[in-house]
């Protein structure tokens, strides 16, 4: 009897599925708002920085083969630190899912269901992840592997379908509001690569843990390419002054696709794919939160407490009073949370653990 593990390609798909949810909500808007015509340059710059960080991450993990961040935290500060780190990451996964869910649902209310209360739309997602959370971890990974190629096709179609509407001059001036804004203030956009913080927990689940470096590098480059594709579509199509007003910018771009007079207005098909992908993201976050909780408390059976995380996501997503509040949380707080937890916390633990490892040698 062998327990199935995650293959290399599936792991890449998993990290990419996370970024899809960011892309379909407000991420392109944030990018374009802050770096204007230098957005594409900023994305390439950010990708290179994240690539450097991820190489450092792989180097730091080299001394802990097959271990995830929880195991490394335990090595560094015992069970106490492990539990603190675990709790922080659970909170991060739950809060991020809740905020994204609320924003996505608010977007859906605006574009398709103006007469429906957003709670019902949130409930649709909650029910779907409640049902799938009872299934194995492998099921979520496999679903992400099936769904992401569809999302990628939709993004490519979005780009190609809108080629007629593109005005490539919109990348000028190349440096947007200036080099400082693009390369220094633009560093805040590093949060777009928040998907890589899921990599911290992947090593024990991988079929070939030695390929983590390959997974990480491919994930970063693919994420960069995907963001470039989606944000590029928006940048070339709309003036960045109008784009900022859109709730779901990619959805607006999809409305302009037309092939002849018969094939027009396909945005709802894109939306169908993004909805499935968003469900994937919620399910992945929920599964990771459950997995961390399970590992922290060493539970043999998680079924009785599975729904607690889902109820938490539901409850937190209802907290913002309206779309303005939830949007503020996403654009001004959540992005820093992504950087703090995804990059700073994880990397700090890895660096300290490496120091300790060097100090105590190979005794442990």
């Amino acid at each position: 009897m062998t327990k199935q593990k995650i293959s290399t390609v599936s792991a890449v798909m998993l990290t990419l599925s996370i970024v899809v949810s960011y892309i379909t909500s407000s991420l392109p808007r944030t990018f374009i708002n802050e770096t204007k015509s230098a957005t594409l340059l900023n994305i390439i710059y950010i990708t290179m920085i994240v690539l450097f960080i991820i190489l450092l991450f792989c180097k730091l993990l080299k001394k802990f083969p097959g271990l995830d961040l929880l195991d490394i935290s335990k090595f560094l500060g015992g069970n106490t630190l492990r539990n603190i780190v675990g709790t922080l990451f659970i909170a991060y996964f739950i809060i991020s899912s809740s905020i994204m869910l609320r924003n996505f649902c608010e977007g859906l209310v605006v574009v398709y269901y103006p007469l429906t209360n957003y709670i019902f739309i949130i409930l649709m997602f909650i029910i779907s992840i409640a049902l799938t959370n009872r299934l194995g971890f492998q099921s979520t990974i496999n679903t992400a592997s099936i769904v992401f190629p569809l999302v990628l096709i939709s993004a490519i179609l979005l780009f190609c379908g809108n080629l007629d509407n593109f005005s490539f001059r919109k990348i000028y001036p190349v440096l947007g509001d200036g080099a400082y804004n693009t390369f220094v203030l633009g560093l805040k956009n590093i949060g777009a690569f928040g998907g890589i913080c899921y990599l911290y927990f992947l090593p024990p689940m991988l079929k070939e843990p030695e390929k983590l470096k390959k997974i990480a590098i491919i994930s970063v480059i693919s994420t960069g390419f995907f963001i470039l594709l989606c944000v590029g579509t928006l940048l070339f199509m709309f003036s960045f002054f109008t784009t900022t007003d859109e709730i779901m910018p990619l959805f607006s771009a999809a409305r302009h696709i037309e092939f002849g007079t018969f094939f027009q207005r396909f945005e709802s098909v894109f939306l169908l794919i993004w909805i499935i992908s968003f469900c994937c993201y919620l399910s992945i976050s929920c599964k990771f939160a459950t997995h961390i909780f399970n590992k922290m408390l060493n539970l043999s059976d998680m079924r009785p407490i599975l729904n607690i995380f889902i109820i938490l996501i539901f409850a937190i997503s209802l907290l913002p009073k309206n779309y303005a509040v939830s949007n503020f949380v996403e654009t001004h707080i959540y992005r820093y949370l992504r950087i703090a937890v995804g990059f700073i916390l994880g990397m700090t633990i890895l660096i300290l653990a490496n120091f300790k490892k060097r100090k105590v040698g190979d005794k442990h």
């Binding site: 599936s10 859906l108 739309i121 649709m124 679903t143 099936i146």
Partner: protein, 560 residues
């Protein structure tokens, strides 16, 4: 009491007892079978050694249909130990008894005749010295020419040739002291002479189907396989019926863990009766709430053998003309036995059509409901006008309209299955009238809906597997409901749950959604069939002992 039980059920903790089994799906599990002794093995002069060799090669301890009959043969007044080897169900027992065993065993003129009278061929006397030319006695020739009154008999000196004959329905006679064996043609397997397969019709393939007799079915497998590595293990299921079943597999190909798991499940059935392969399929498969089939059911021996050679396990049930094949993945239910007989370009075209059919059968009505209720903008203006015009006279909401039509269609389909065939055509006429004309004329449904229902129905007929088609028919209603509740949001969340549940499923340790979910470099597993010369590998997820089923260059004639 019931309330107490209800509350207990909600709040009590019940440990998770699920039976888990998974096959390793990496190439490391492939066992090296290159060392198999493929050299031709000569027949031994000792009967006991021959018997031991046969026992090993045919796995007589577990193979239920291989028969060895030891007896004493009379020839020229002397007695020799002899052995008959044949496969039950493939030989004609009457011929075997009357024209092989009886002449050899019974004392009669032929075998009592010592031959001394005829030994001298010629005699010459020179200088009072008599020179006689004496015919050297040859037991093998003597038996062939005098004792066995059979029209087709051959002397073979290798086991390979003998086994080939036995596998194709002949009987082998081994005699102590002889280093040859006789391959006697007494084929007598039953063949379905009248009926063709009813459910899996192919144009270019064989037109033979399994029958109700298990022994006939095993003989069909033997004949198609024509290899001694085919193991057919017999067992009985059901405390009352004691139904005979046979677990069949190629011992040099199949993963042994898979065989063990199948036998474990089959042997651990505590039931009174087993009357069909359909029941067995349900009893040995893991439960799934989607109702998807987890075993392939076929009535075609050629299809069964194809799977057997791929490294799967077949289970036959006495009294049922179907073979149950495990494990099965989702793609198996979109493939037809005909695909292998066609050029890959045509086969792939048909498979794509079936995939589209599956999509339509499951989602088309749901998509129609959601588009007409929530996403009208997707429709071109002209089409939208014609739909609205057609629906103008219909007083019902679209959900009511489509459910009426779908249920009516299911009723007609069920009725056409149940009525005697003589009045079957009447059902078609009534159905066409009710669905096609009357409903539209009466203003109950719109004409465009008839098109949707018709395409959906035709799509469900294009699915090769009945159980899979059934599953799509049933879940179509769920998607109609979701489409009506929330449009593409409902369909999207429903699809996500559906895909997740499929991805969670396993059939005998193999992921049901392979190869599209695992994203590994699996060989020969996809929906797209490569050209016949490129099908070198067995499906990797089966983790078979032999990875390859043909050489890299299978069409050697092209390279010479």
């Amino acid at each position: 009491m019931k309330i107490k039980k209800f509350i207990t059920n909600i709040f009590n903790y019940y440990p998770n007892h699920t039976h888990q089994f998974s096959l390793p799906n990496n190439a490391n599990s492939f066992q090296n079978t290159q060392n198999e002794n493929n050299t031709e093995k000569k027949i031994f002069t000792s009967l006991d050694i021959n018997l031991d060799y046969i026992k090993t090669k045919y796995n007589l301890l577990i193979n239920s249909d291989i028969v060895t009959r030891e007896f004493i043969l009379n020839a020229r007044g002397k007695q020799y130990k002899a052995l008959l080897l044949h496969i039950d169900g493939m030989v004609d027992s009457q011929i075997l008894n009357d024209f092989v065993l009886e002449p050899l065993m019974m004392r009669n003129k032929n075998n009592l005749f010592d031959g001394e009278q005829n030994r001298v061929i010629s005699e010459a006397v020179t200088n009072n010295i008599t020179v006689r030319k004496v015919k050297k006695f040859n037991l093998a020739d003597y038996i062939e020419n005098r004792l066995i009154p059979q029209n087709n008999i051959k002397q073979e000196n290798t086991f390979e040739e003998i086994f080939s004959g036995v596998n194709s329905g002949n009987c082998a006679l081994f005699i102590d002291t002889l280093d040859i064996a006789f391959d006697i043609d007494i084929k007598g397997f039953k063949q379905r002479s009248i009926d063709k397969p009813e459910n899996e019709v192919v144009i270019k393939g064989p037109h033979e189907a399994f029958v109700e007799n298990i022994r006939t079915n095993t003989s069909l497998l033997r004949r198609f396989t024509n290899n001694e590595n085919l193991i057919i293990e017999s067992l009985e299921i059901g405390d009352i019926t004691k139904t005979k079943c046979a677990v069949c597999y190629m011992q040099n190909i199949v993963n042994e863990d898979l065989v063990a798991e199948v036998k474990y499940r089959v042997n651990n059935l505590n039931i009174d009766s087993l009357l069909s392969a359909g029941q067995l399929e349900q009893l040995i498969s893991d439960n799934n709430s989607l109702g998807l089939p987890k075993a392939i059911s076929t009535e075609r021996p050629d299809n069964a053998v194809q799977h057997l050679l791929e490294g799967r396990v077949i289970i036959l049930v006495n009294g049922s003309p179907f073979a149950v094949i495990v494990p099965a993945i989702m793609i198996d239910f979109l493939t037809s036995p005909e695909d292998r007989n066609l050029k890959s370009i045509f086969a792939n075209f048909l498979r794509t059509i079936r995939l589209i059919s599956a999509f339509f059968a499951l989602l088309l009505p749901g998509l129609y409901v959601s588009v007409t209720s929530f996403h009208i903008e997707i429709l071109p203006t002209e089409l939208l006008y014609s739909i609205l015009a057609a629906r103008e006279s219909v007083p019902f909401p679209v959900i009511f309209e489509i459910i009426i039509m779908e249920i009516s269609f299911e009723i007609i389909r069920e009725a056409s299955l149940r009525v005697p065939s003589a009045i079957g055509s009447t059902i078609g006429i009534v159905g066409a009238l009710v669905i096609g004309q009357a409903a539209v004329s009466a203003g109950i449904v719109s004409p465009i809906l008839i098109i949707i229902v018709a395409i959906t129905a035709l799509s469900s007929f294009a699915i090769p597997d009945y159980s899979f088609s059934f599953h799509l028919r049933l879940f179509r209603f769920l998607f109609i409901l979701l489409g009506y509740i929330a449009g593409f949001l409902g369909i999207g969340t429903g699809l996500f749950i559906y895909i997740s549940m499929i991805c969670d499923m396993e059939s005998f340790g193999v992921s049901y959604s392979i190869p599209y979910s695992s994203m590994e470099q699996l060989k020969n597993t996809g929906l797209i069939l490569p050209p016949i010369w490129k099908r070198e590998f067995r499906a990797s997820y089966l983790a078979t002992k032999k990875e390859k089923k043909q050489k890299d260059i299978s069409m050697k004639w092209k390279t010479q």
